[in-house]
């Protein structure tokens, strides 16, 4: 591809050439295939989807654009519980990921010493086993007669979660708790890795400096470490929340009909009921909601340079 920059002259170059700009067109040639790919298979589909969402018709007679905006109204008023549920589950999973992931990232960055590489490998390695297989393993872990559930039962934890509505009866499977647990598990590495990256950049001497200036360990963390790791926190929460909000695998495998998320609805509408306009409208609303939330979040946290 670098050959584009300088075509070999066919004839001996004339004595006085005008000052040439080497490779004026090179960036466009480099960009063309990839950007075209993204335009045709990412941007264009969004437009098609927008147009599908305002079409009416049937599978047999075909669809026509009729500017039928009430599809949106119908879809949202019918499926708003799933929207809300997606937001809540994703938010819960994101907070859990942050709470669980931060100590692990901190451990790798500052306390692991010569174990650092090994722990890094152990964080990444599960990726190489299909996430569906690993999610199915949670069915075994949380099985009704398994040790986890009986332990929670003995400790009366399930009474509390039942009261909160996170579980029902003696089960964890097929409850919101199981779905959130699965989401947290699946997206935890996406929280740990950016957190680790930004923690690792922090100069260890800052901790000593803070200690030297009479900060207790927790104060050091609150006033120095955590603020400096904000870029990691922001990208970690985004990388966790966005896929969690659109996920339907965990709700399907670990949940029940009462834990259906918006992803499940879109999938069913598209692939089983074949109601394309409704599915497109739902997907469009999900996209708009997430983009709006991401924009506000990035603005608020003051890390625009993240993008």
């Amino acid at each position: 591809m670098a050959a584009v920059t300088e075509a070999p002259p066919l004839a001996p170059a004339p004595e006085k050439k005008p000052p040439r700009k080497r490779g004026r067109w090179t960036p466009y040639w480099l960009l063309l295939p990839g950007i075209l790919w993204l335009i045709v298979f990412f941007a264009l589909p969004m437009i098609y989807q927008g147009s599908t969402s305002i079409q009416t018709g049937s599978l047999e007679d075909g669809y026509k654009v009729t500017w039928h905006f009430s599809t949106y109204w119908d879809a949202v008023s019918e499926y708003w519980p799933q929207f809300v549920r997606s937001g809540l589950y994703a938010a819960a999973a994101t907070i859990l990921c942050l709470l669980l992931g931060y100590p692990l990232a901190y451990l790798i960055a500052f306390r692991a010493g010569r174990w650092r590489n090994l722990i890094m490998i152990l964080v990444i390695a599960p990726f190489f086993t299909s996430f569906l297989i690993r999610t199915l393993a949670w069915k075994t872990i949380l099985a009704d007669s398994g040790p986890v559930v009986s332990a929670l039962n003995t400790l009366h934890v399930l009474d509390v979660t039942n009261w909160l509505g996170w579980t029902s009866g003696d089960r964890v499977l097929a409850t919101p708790l199981a779905v959130v647990c699965g989401l947290t598990y699946n997206f935890l590495p996406f929280m740990v890795l950016p957190l680790y990256t930004s923690l690792e950049r922090i100069d260890g001497r800052l901790h000593e400096a803070a200690g030297d200036l009479y900060a207790k360990p927790f104060t050091t963390f609150r006033k120095v470490t955590f603020p400096l790791s904000m870029p990691g926190v922001v990208s970690g929460t985004l990388l966790t929340f966005i896929p969690a909000a659109g996920d339907y695998v965990n709700a399907e495998l670990l949940g029940s009909t009462d834990t259906r998320m918006i992803g499940n609805v879109i999938q069913t509408q598209f692939l089983r009921i074949l109601d394309y306009p409704t599915a497109a409208a739902l997907s469009f609303v999900l996209m708009a909601a997430i983009l709006a939330m991401v924009t506000i979040y990035i603005r608020k946290s003051g890390t625009e340079d993240l993008v």
């Binding site: 300088e6 170059a13 050439k17 000052p19």
Partner: protein, 384 residues
């Protein structure tokens, strides 16, 4: 010696560089570097010296003008077709290749098959034969620097360009490498063009120094010529320290100009004045601090006749071993600097003492008074 080899001459005619954003780094410039010389481009950062070097290398296209190497015009040749090699600032050694392959890079690109002997010889020349199979990051700064020189020299370029080659080294190593580079240059006889902001480095190594400021060459000459006879306030202040006094032309007598300054008279050889002199016109009179002798005011009568004199009071003195540096508060110049060698220290020369400063008029130089008297003062400190 009429058939002098000129194939290693570097000739820049009317060369200039203006970037797309409108910033002019180099004003139209004519410069000839003769074959076999060690030539230094000296100036503060942003003065256009590196841009000039890059235009010789072909890494930057000039906005106007031409570059000749010997009789060959190379203005439009890409860098890989020019018989010129560069030692880059911070060396730019290829991190993925070992030392041997770094040095062999240029030979291999020119399709030379048997490079082994040449590379081994070259590594021996820079005393790195043992390190051939190490990666650059495993070497010290001084060793990396020598690899960079070897990698360029092995190609037998007509001209070797050095872009701040010693900037990353500590002071002691820098001194050592200065002598080393000078030795290599004498040995191989290739034209060296050396860019630096360190005036001491330029003066130690180069035969000819061009002092650059704001895209222009202020003055060009041998180090001693530049130091003894600066033509502009920038050169006077940038190279070493100068005491500059504003004076008025009083009269001329023979080859000398007589000037009035603060009530006294000073004599300046006309040949050492770069400014036009008309009676009543202003001139800046300069003298280097080490040319001046200090005499306590009580002994003023013992000063021989025919010397330039100024009176003042010692404001500050600092002992720095080989010499003592005095700052004198004088009516003609508030911070007159004098360096006195510590041979016979006169205990009367203490802060607060009244003194007479006197020097041989032949050490006086004259500059155009229309310039900024402090040009080049700050930049030198920043660079040091």
């Amino acid at each position: 010696m009429n058939t002098k080899d000129t194939s290693g001459d570097v000739r820049l005619s009317g060369i200039s560089k203006t970037y797309d954003n409108g910033f002019t780094a180099v004003q139209p410039l004519d410069l000839t570097v003769p074959q076999g010389s060690f030539f230094a481009l000296l100036g503060a950062s942003g003065c256009g010296k590196t841009t000039t070097l890059r235009m010789i290398a072909g890494l930057e296209e000039p906005s106007s003008g031409t570059v000749h190497l010997g009789d060959q015009e190379v203005t439009n040749l890409p860098p890989y077709k020019r018989p010129v090699n560069t030692v880059f600032q911070s060396y730019a050694l290829f991190p993925h290749l070992d030392i041997f392959e770094n040095v062999a890079f240029g030979l291999r690109r020119r399709g030379i098959k048997s490079v082994k002997q040449q590379v081994v010889d070259m590594l021996d020349l820079v005393q790195l034969g043992e390190q051939a199979r190490k990666k650059p990051h495993q070497l010290s700064g001084g060793q990396q620097q020598r690899v960079a020189v070897a990698r360029a020299l092995i190609n037998h370029p007509k001209v070797l360009l050095l872009d701040e080659p010693l900037g990353a080294l500590d002071l002691k190593l820098r001194r050592q490498m200065q002598l080393e580079l000078k030795r290599i240059q004498t040995e191989v006889g290739i034209t060296f063009v050396h860019v630096t902001h360190d005036q001491e480095e330029a003066m130690t190594m180069a035969d000819t120094v061009a002092v650059m400021n704001a895209g222009r060459v202020e003055q060009l000459g041998s180090p001693s010529d530049l130091y003894e006879n600066p033509n502009t306030t920038f050169v006077a202040n940038f190279l070493g320290t100068s005491n500059l006094i504003e004076a008025e032309v009083d009269s001329k007598s023979g080859d000398d100009i007589v000037l009035k300054a603060g009530g006294g008279k000073l004599v300046l050889p006309e040949a050492r004045c770069s400014a036009p002199t008309t009676t009543g016109g202003k001139v800046l009179v300069g003298v280097r601090p080490e040319k001046i002798t200090l005499t306590p005011a009580d002994d003023a009568g013992e000063i021989p006749a025919g010397r330039n004199r100024i009176t003042g009071k010692i404001a500050d003195s600092s002992f720095i071993g080989v010499s003592t540096q005095y700052v004198i508060d004088s009516p003609v110049c508030p911070e007159f600097e004098v360096y006195a060698q510590n041979i016979d220290r006169d205990s009367r020369l203490r802060p607060g003492a009244d003194v007479v400063l006197h020097w041989n008029p032949a050490h006086t130089f004259g500059l155009d008074a229309a310039q900024d008297i402090d040009a080049g003062v700050d930049t030198e400190e920043e660079a040091a």
